[in-house]
């Protein structure tokens, strides 16, 4: 059952309810980058006393562990177009992933949110900056992904 994709009309609303729960419980804006930021700034000051955002991020890791254990396998093998295009030992895969990660982390902090912070929470509160950010990163990613699709 866990190998089958959950219908979108269940997965989507549950994600939406997570956004609402964070607002109702903590008056907070749900966002994974916020969790990264909280953990990184605390750890770099030698503290492990994370607020709810840090624990939210850790919860996602826990879910990954639990899901793989319950399903009895990882959700996918290889790593998408990267392992189809390059040999698994190729230096290009780490280089591309680290560089993309840098853009993702630095870009999300600059824009004040990632797919969750701006894409889910920002748009859900009808925030103009959240909607603008979401349009820009979706548009950009669509262009980039289609270029990759054509080139490889």
């Amino acid at each position: 059952m866990l190998q089958q994709q959950l219908p979108w009309f269940i997965g989507g609303p549950v994600m939406g309810l997570c956004v609402v729960a964070a607002r109702a419980l903590f008056n907070g804006r749900l966002g994974v980058t916020g969790g990264f930021s909280e953990i990184i700034s605390k750890v770099s000051r030698g503290s492990l006393s994370f607020d709810w955002r840090g624990w939210f991020a850790l919860g996602i890791v826990v879910a990954g562990v639990g899901f793989a254990l319950l399903a009895g396998q990882q959700s996918f093998q290889g790593y998408g177009w990267l392992t189809r295009t390059f040999a698994e030992s190729s230096i290009w895969i780490p280089v591309i992933l680290v560089a993309s990660g840098l853009l993702i982390g630095f870009g999300a902090k600059t824009a004040g949110g990632c797919t969750s912070g701006n894409g889910l929470s920002g748009t859900s509160s009808l925030s103009a900056s959240g909607i603008l950010s979401t349009c820009v990163f979706f548009g950009t990613a669509i262009v980039v992904a289609n270029i990759i699709q054509v080139v490889i």
């Binding site: 989507g12 609303p13 907070g28 826990v62 853009l103 993702i104 748009t123 959240g130």
Partner: protein, 155 residues
């Protein structure tokens, strides 16, 4: 304590959805971004629809937040240049790696080795941003919650 436990539980639910909807898989993301599947858009749309309805009700009623000593109220940031520049960078990274911060954490949990590279990249990107002493960009509601959290966590 209750604060952190609640954050963890929301994270577990959120992470389970990332895994179960296939958003953890780079091929699912690539398929969505190249319009081979409508799942991601329907999924995001229904998440935002549900979230918007819930937040609309919360905003209107403005109850006291359950776990922090504050009323549920927030101000949205007005659009600025950084939303465009930051999201351009984010979109390039997302389109190439076909992964964003949530799925990276879920992949790490599943023991997918490739996630270590994107994780290192994201951590470095956030760290560089914080080190530059750049202004905090996440909306005001986050700070209110972050500041209120330690006081409430004592209970």
């Amino acid at each position: 304590m209750l604060n952190r436990a609640s954050g963890l539980v929301i994270g577990i639910v959120f992470g389970a959805m990332i895994c179960w909807t296939g958003m953890i898989n780079p091929d699912v993301i690539l398929g969505a971004l190249t319009f081979q599947s409508s799942y991601l858009f329907l999924f995001m749309g229904s998440a935002v629809g549900t979230g918007a309805l819930g937040l609309f009700i919360l905003r209107k009623r403005a109850p006291k937040a359950v776990l922090v000593d504050a009323k549920v109220a927030w101000k949205d940031d007005p659009p600025a240049r950084r939303h465009v520049t930051g999201s351009l960078m984010f979109g390039v990274g997302w389109g190439i790696a076909c992964v964003c911060p949530g799925p990276i954490l879920a992949q790490l949990g599943q023991g997918i080795p490739w996630a270590i590279y994107s994780f290192v990249g994201v951590v470095a990107g956030v760290f560089i941003y914080l080190r530059r002493g750049s202004v905090e960009t996440e909306p005001a509601g986050d700070h209110a919650a972050a500041q209120a959290a330690p006081a409430a966590a004592v209970n």
